[in-house]
Amino acid sequence: MSRLITRTLILVACACWVFPLGAGRYALAGDGSTPPGIKEYKPNISTQEYEKRYKAVYGKFTEQMAQEGNPADFMLDDGKDLFGKVEGAAGKSCASCHGANGEKLKGVAATYPKYDPELKGIDTVALQINRCRKEQMGAPELKYESDPQLALELYVKSLSNGVPINVSIAGPAKPFYEAGKAFYYKRYGQFNFSCALCHVKYAGHMIRANLLSNNRHHADHWPSYRLKWGATGSLQRRFRGCNKNVRQKPEPFQSETYRNLELYLTYQANGVPIEVPGFRM
């Protein structure tokens, strides 16, 4: 530490030209702009070590949960019913195309989000369900974060439970992945925070009484029941929460930014098995 200070003082002492003051002084860091060619942080903590710490901090709650059962399991049951329910002008249900028990969707959610040429952008499970409803079933789209929407998303994802996430960022997906990464690393707001600071650089540290989670585990368990909400919600609802906590304006569900961000985070979880519904504080 003192070496850093000494070095700075030496640099200060030999300063011979004036760096512009005012806005210019802070333009180098933290003016909210994204530096070109972001250098990603190395994960601060290994997955095993993080899981050990998670258990130490939250183990009591998760064990209790395991005994009492996850309230989101009820929603999962509703999702299974909805999957088989005929709706819309075409007289079809999801099961009409994907098999009575969703056989044809086993493992599919593990490859989402993915690039879609029709969208010329990133498709998520939630978005795809609504596209199917509209285009294949002639049924109304479901409102994001509504109970039936979450229930169907949960059911479709549960068909990939235990399957390692395997998301591609090759080819046309690449620029969207890069955009997600840029958002994740962008500094913003009065605190000048970025997502990556808390969830990569300092993952595994305590911020007050909260263990900063490792982003390798952010995309593997949503929708999750969250105690603080007293409800089940999606990963994107959690994005909005973190946005608000650090005083950044939240985006609408399934906005382009959030879909790109979801791709970025899901790619970080490649190889981690899907396990829904999750349970969080």
Binding site: T8, A13, H205
Partner: protein, 120 residues
């Protein structure tokens, strides 16, 4: 790495160009309140601070840190609180001064508090 050095260098130059902020005498009692208040310093979110519950461990223990500073370093300590980017361009510590999280007088009070927890 090279870019990092250049950035640090430019920031150091920028620092040199600042009008010397002579740290004014602050009020340690008030500083303690600012450090503890969640809507002001909220320093314990990241630092161990005496008598604060559930401190974070993102930053160093501030009692230990203060052992590294003498009275002559008041300007340096003030700069850490005002805007830590002068020392670490990629710091997670919020720029309390420039982003108007704390006023000049409040930063002086915080500095006074930090010297009060220094083991003499």
């Amino acid at each position: 790495m090279k870019i990092g050095t250049v950035t640090a260098f430019s920031l150091a130059l920028a620092l040199a160009a600042l009008p010397a902020v002579a740290p004014a005498a602050g009020n340690a009692e008030n500083g303690k309140k600012i450090v503890e208040a969640k809507n002001l310093g909220n320093c314990a979110a990241c630092h161990v601070i005496p008598n604060m519950e559930f401190p974070g461990d993102v930053g160093p223990d501030l009692v230990a840190s203060m052992q590294g500073f003498t009275e002559k370093d008041r300007g340096t300590v003030r700069q850490w609180v005002w805007d830590a980017r002068a020392f670490d361009p990629d710091t997670i510590m919020p720029p309390f001064g420039p982003n108007k999280l704390l006023t000049n007088a409040e930063v002086d009070d915080v500095v006074e508090y930090l010297y009060s927890i220094q083991k003499k």
